[in-house]
Amino acid sequence: MEDNNRQSPIFMIRGFWWKFLSGLLLLYAIIAGFIIEVPDTMIQETIRNLFYHVGMWFGMFTMLITGFVFSLLYLRNFDEQKDLVAVEAVNVGLVFGLLGIFTGMIWANFTWGAPWVNDPKLDGAAVGLFIYLAYMILRGSISDVYKRAKVSAVYNIFAFVLWIVFVLIIPRLAGESIHPGKDAAPVLPMHLAPSMRIIFYPAMIGWVLLGFWILEIRVRIRRIKWTIDD
């Protein structure tokens, strides 16, 4: 049991149930998301993208927070396993981020008439991508394993905090954003129609769990490689 605890779960979640739950929720979100009646608003049927595009944002955000937390944990006792989780969390977060931008572009093309518009929210997403791609390049340019872990953990913490300032504070204080989600909490549209809410919330949980699932697999692959290299 002790050994199993060290080997597989990254987080406090034990067992497989949450992976099945993730699959079920996402299946539900994809099937029901396309067949339910949606309210006839200005953006019409494209509102269904809410279940997928916002899910990418949720997934990215939880992954980047995970990376941030594990970088902090790494600096506490310099355990390489923590660094490994941090880098993989950022990797998964980057994939979610790219997919989020991609789904957002499809949506924007329909609703705003162009795949990319100059907007504080979109800038925040792009800056996030630049920061984490730079993080990967920083890691690549340091060959010593311990130094790499330490320096990149410092950059991750530093950049994440500044990115949060950029994404969460500045559009609220300064910019006039055409991207929704300004008045309510950043990602919880309280004014959502009840018929959509019963898909939206399960879908978000599903995406977040999927992120952790991918993260767990990636970390295990890394650990196996690590052991083989040793």
């Binding site: 800038d123 630049f130 920061i131 920083l138 320096v151 300032v165 504070i169 500045i170």
Partner: protein, 220 residues
């Protein structure tokens, strides 16, 4: 207080070092003059307040990256070990930030003067613009000092400094450009409080982060 004494001594050391190796500061000054002159030749005929503003801050960003990137590679690594034995890492970080703040304040005022000399003055509200310059110097020096410390630990190159710093400098630059756009358009101060607050928050966050994180970069 011990920390402030150490910082004083280290800032003094930085200044003496800079005066001793004059070619570094002369190089930065020449970079400043040459960049602005090239910009003048390229943009002379199309200059509007909007382009004036954008060009000025982009040039200042490049000057800042160029002059601060040397912070941790100018001296022999062995000497860093010596500093490590006699001072606290926080003192080193804060002294570098303070020194770079002085440097950036001087460089930004010089760039402003030279820019106005060549491109003509577009600034209406000079006090507001100078405030933006001071807050900008503080923000750029603290963010870039921290990034220079990170980049100096990697196999160092200039592009690494740029790719690490540009995305995280953006919020700062955005707020600065908004303030200075207002300073260019009229004597009005209204609505500026928010942006000044944003800049102060960013500066505070960066300095706290530098204080907390620098010891990890310092030790091998």
């Amino acid at each position: 207080m011990r920390l402030s004494k150490e910082i004083q001594a280290l800032v003094g050391k930085e200044i003496r070092l800079e005066l001793k190796q004059k070619y570094v500061i002369n190089g930065i000054l020449l970079y400043l003059v040459a960049t602005i002159f090239v910009t003048y030749l390229a943009f002379e005929s199309v200059i509007t307040p909007e382009t004036w503003n954008s060009l000025f801050w982009i040039i200042l960003l490049f000057i800042a990256v160029n002059s601060i990137s040397k912070s941790f590679i100018q001296e022999n690594p062995a000497r860093h070990i010596y500093y490590y034995t006699i001072t606290s890492p926080q003192a080193v970080a804060l002294s570098k930030i303070i020194y770079n703040l002085f440097l950036m304040a001087i460089l930004s005022v010089l760039s402003f003067v030279f820019f106005v000399f060549l491109m003509g003055n577009q600034v209406v509200n000079i006090p507001l613009f100078l405030l933006a310059l001071i807050l900008g110097s503080l923000g750029l020096s603290s963010v870039l000092t921290m990034v220079a410390a990170i980049a100096s630990r990697a196999s160092y190159n200039f592009s690494l400094m740029a790719i690490l710093s540009f995305p995280i400098v953006l919020p700062l630059l955005g707020a600065l450009m908004t303030i200075s756009r207002t300073a260019l358009s009229g004597p009005d101060w209204s609505g500026m409080g928010v942006f000044i607050a944003i800049l102060l928050i960013i500066n505070l966050v960066v300095i706290i982060l530098a204080y907390v994180l620098f010891p990890y970069l310092w030790k091998d």
